[in-house]
Amino acid sequence: MLKYILRRLVTAPLVIFLLLVITFTMVRVAPGSPFSSEKATPPEIQERQRAFYHLDKSIPVQFIYYLGNVVRGDLGPSLKYKDLTVNEIISRHWLPSFVLGTTAMALALVMGMTAGILAGLKPNSRWDYSSMTISMVGITLPAFVTGPLLVVVFSLKLGWFRVSGWDANGFSKDIVLPAITLSLPYAARIARLMRAGLLEVVNQDYIRTARAKGLREHVVVLRHALKGALLPVVSFLGPAVAFIITGSLVVETIFQVPGLGRQFTQSALNRDYGLTQGLVVFVGTLLVVLNLVVDVAYGFLDPRIRYD
C-alpha cells in the first residue's frame, strides 16, 4: 500500500514535468513569434524584447527559466490581453467553472446512484431496462447535442430559463441547464457502475450472512451492499473530474459561462498561446493532483486492493 502511494507520489511530478515539456516545446516550435506585428519594430527594440523574455538564451536555458517561473506560480503573460497575466485571468474566471463543475458532479452522483441502485436491486426488470437504456443514451449523446436540445425545449419553447448567460453574483437559475448538460454523461456512467457493483456484491457471502441474520432488506441494501458497491464509483471519480473539466469547454461555450473552459477555447481560437499554455499547465496540474488524491483515497477505502 505504502509502496503504491509512494510510487504515485513520484509519478505525479513526472507527469506534470512532462506536461510542461510538451507545452513548452509546442509553443516554441510553433510558427510565428509573439512579437511579430504589422508595424516593423526597430532591431534594437526587438533585441531588448527578446532579452527581456530570455528568448536570446538557448532553448534548454529558456526552459529552465520557464520552469522556474512555473514553480514560483507565475504562468506568464497573456499575448492578447496585453495588460493581464495568466494568473490574473485564472483568478477572475475560476469561480464559475468551479461552481458549475461541483454542481454538475453532485447532480451526477445523485441521479446516477439513484438510477443505478434501482436497476441493480431488480436486475432484468422493467426498471433495470429503462434506466440502463436511458444511461446508454446519456453516455452516447455528447454535451453539444444535449445542451442545445435542452435550450430549444426549456428556453425557447417553454421559456423557463435564459438561452445563455451567467449571473455574475454566483448562484442563480442560470446554472440549471448547463449543470444538467454537464452532469448527464457522468450520471449515466455512475448508474452503470453502481448497477454492476451491486450485482457483483449481492451474491457475496457477507450479504447472505446479513440476510440470514434477519436484517431488514433496506438495512441490507443501504448498510452492507451499498458500501461494497460504491468502490467502482469512487474509482471513477478521478477520471470524472478530468471529464468534467474537458466537458465544460463545450458547456461553457454553449451557455456562455464566463469560466476557464470558455477562456481556454477563446484563447485557442485567438491564438493567444501564452494564455493557452498557462491554462493547460494549470488545469493539467489540477487534474494530476486530483487523480492522485482519488487514487490514494481508493487505496485506503478498499483494503483488498494491492497495487503491485
Binding site: 446508454m136 449523446l141 453539444f144 447535442v145 442545445p148 481560437l269 493539467g284
Partner: protein
C-alpha cells in the same frame, strides 16, 4: 466500420462451425447489433458514394429559400426574371394560373454603431451614428439597442451577419454572440449596421401562355423585373419545376440532407483513419511489451500509465491551433491519443497467449521474434482487437465532433470541411433563432451512428466471447 464489414464477409466464407462462423451466428441473434449493422451500412454507403447520390450540391446557396422545414419545395428560378404583359412568363412558370412572388425590397440605411466595452467585458456605451436618410440626422446613445435578424454588421475581422435571432446590445451587459470576442477595454466599431427591410408582392396572372395581368402590391404594372436572389417566396400554380428538400434547408438555402451526407463522410473518415492509426501504434506497442515481458514490459507500461495521466485533449487543441487544422495532423493527433487503451488490451492478450503451446512450437521451429509477435500473437488476439476497434471509432468521431464544435474544424485548401460536429454547431446557432431542423437532423445522424457503433461493439464482444456476455 469497414473492418466490421470485412470481418463479416470473412465470417460468411468460413465453415459454419469455425470460431468466426459461430460468432457470426451469435451476432445475428442480437437484434440491436443487427439493426446497428444495418444503419452503419446505410450511412457508410451513403458517405462513400456521397458525390453521386446527394440530391443537391451541399455548398450551393440560395439564401432566398433559406431556413425551410423538411419537405419544402420551391421553384427553380432564373437569375433575373422579366414579366411583361402580353408576353410569355419566364422559364419556370407554367403557362396558366396565378403566380405570386414575394420579393425582398431593401431599404439600406447604413449607420455607424460604436460600442465601448469596459475592462470587465461589459458594454459601457452605445453610440449610433447619424441616420443620413432621416429628416433630422443626429447621433443617438440608447441604453438598449435591438439588432434585428439578418442585419449585416462588420465587427472585428470581416463581415458577420447578426445571428438569426434578434439580439440586443445593452449597457452593463456582455456583448451578444455575433459581436462577442471583441477585445475588452476597447471601443468596437460596428460599421454598416443596416436598418429596414420590407417586402413587395408581384402577382402575375397567366392565361394561355401569355401574362394577362400584372400587379405589384396590388397596383397594376406593365412590366416587372425580379432578381432571383431577392425572391423570398413563390406560390406556383401546379408547377412541375420544383426542388424538394427532404430534410429542409439551412440558413443560406443549402440542402440539409446533402450537407448531412457530406458531413458523415468527414466524420466517418476521421473516425476510421484515426482509429487505424491508433490501432497500428497500440497493437505494435502492446504486443511487443507483452511478449518482451519482465523489465521492458514494466517500463513500457509505466510509460503508458504516465501518458494516461496527461490531458491530451488540450494538446490536440493546441496542436491544431499552432500548426493549422489539417486532416493529417488531426489523424495523427487523435491516433496518438487513442492508442493507449489498445496497447493495454493487446498486452493483456499477448501475456496470456504467449504461454500457449503453439507459440512454444513456433519458437522451437525457429520463427523469429517478429514472426511470432505479428504472425501468431497478434492474429490470435484479433477478436479483442476488433471489438475494441469498433468501440474506438465512436470515441474518435466524438473527439472530432467536439473539436469542430469548438470551432476547430478541419480545413482543406483553406475551406472548412464540414463534419457532423460543425453541422451541429451551426444547427445550434440556427435553433436559437427558432429553426431547430439542422440541429435535430445532424444530432440524430451523429447520435444514431455513435449508438450503432457502441451496440455493435458490445454485440461483437458477446459474440466473440460468450463468457463475457452481459458483463461490462
Amino acid at each position: 466500420m469497414t473492418e466490421a464489414v470485412a470481418v463479416q464477409e470473412e465470417k460468411k466464407e468460413a465453415p459454419p462451425r469455425s470460431l468466426w462462423g459461430e460468432a457470426w451466428s451469435r451476432l445475428r441473434k442480437n437484434r440491436f447489433a443487427v439493426m446497428s449493422l444495418a444503419w452503419l451500412s446505410v450511412i457508410g454507403i451513403a458517405a462513400a458514394l456521397a458525390p453521386w447520390i446527394v440530391p443537391y450540391d451541399p455548398q450551393h446557396q440560395e439564401w432566398w429559400t433559406g431556413k425551410r422545414p423538411p419537405l419544402y419545395s420551391h421553384a427553380t428560378l432564373e437569375l433575373i426574371m422579366t414579366f411583361s404583359e402580353g408576353s410569355a412568363p419566364p422559364a419556370p412558370f407554367p403557362s396558366s394560373g396565378t403566380h405570386v412572388i414575394k420579393v425582398k425590397k431593401e431599404e439600406a440605411r447604413t449607420r455607424d454603431l460604436r460600442i465601448k466595452v469596459s475592462h470587465d467585458g461589459k458594454v459601457e456605451h452605445i453610440e449610433l451614428g447619424p441616420d443620413l436618410d432621416a429628416d433630422d440626422p443626429h447621433s443617438e446613445s440608447p441604453d438598449v439597442l435591438a439588432l434585428a435578424s439578418g442585419e449585416r454588421i462588420v465587427a472585428g475581422e470581416g463581415e458577420k451577419r447578426v445571428a438569426a435571432a434578434a439580439t440586443t446590445v445593452e449597457k452593463g451587459k456582455v456583448l451578444p454572440e455575433p459581436l462577442a470576442g471583441a477585445a475588452t477595454g476597447q471601443a468596437v466599431l460596428v460599421a454598416q449596421w443596416r436598418k429596414g427591410e420590407r417586402t413587395r408582392e408581384v402577382e402575375a396572372r397567366v392565361e394561355q401562355g401569355k401574362v394577362a395581368s400584372l400587379a405589384v402590391d396590388s397596383k397594376p404594372e406593365k412590366r416587372v423585373e425580379v432578381a432571383a436572389d431577392e425572391v423570398l417566396d413563390v406560390a406556383l400554380d401546379g408547377s412541375p419545376f420544383v426542388h424538394t428538400h427532404l430534410l429542409g434547408t439551412d440558413d443560406s438555402g443549402r440542402d440539409i440532407l446533402s450537407r448531412i451526407i457530406f458531413g458523415g463522410r468527414i466524420s466517418l473518415m476521421v473516425g476510421i483513419v484515426a482509429t487505424l492509426v491508433s490501432l497500428v501504434i497500440g497493437v505494435a506497442y502492446g504486443a511487443l511489451s507483452g511478449y518482451a515481458g519482465g523489465r521492458t514490459d514494466e517500463l513500457m507500461m509505466r510509460i503508458v500509465d504516465i501518458l494516461y495521466a496527461i490531458p491530451f485533449m488540450f494538446f490536440v487543441i493546441i496542436l491544431l491551433v499552432l500548426f493549422g487544422r489539417s486532416l493529417i495532423l488531426l489523424f495523427a493527433a487523435i491516433g496518438a491519443v487513442e492508442w493507449l487503451t489498445m496497447a493495454r488490451i493487446v498486452r493483456g492478450q499477448v501475456l496470456s497467449l504467449k504461454e500457449k503451446e503453439f507459440i512454444e512450437a513456433a519458437r522451437v521451429s525457429g520463427t523469429s521474434t517478429f514472426g511470432i509477435v505479428f504472425g501468431h500473437l497478434v492474429p490470435n488476439s484479433l477478436g479483442t482487437v476488433i471489438v475494441y476497434t469498433t468501440l474506438t471509432i465512436p470515441e474518435v468521431i466524438l473527439t472530432e465532433a467536439f473539436l469542430s464544435f469548438l470551432g476547430l474544424s478541419v480545413q482543406y485548401n483553406g475551406q472548412n470541411l464540414e463534419s457532423w460536429g460543425s453541422l451541429t454547431k451551426s444547427g445550434m446557432d440556427l435553433a436559437l433563432g427558432g429553426f431547430p431542423w439542422l440541429l435535430l437532423w445532424s444530432a440524430t445522424a451523429l447520435s444514431l451512428t455513435l449508438f450503432a457503433l457502441n451496440f455493435l461493439g458490445d454485440g461483437l464482444r458477446d459474440a466473440l466471447d460468450p463468457r463475457l456476455r452481459g458483463k461490462g
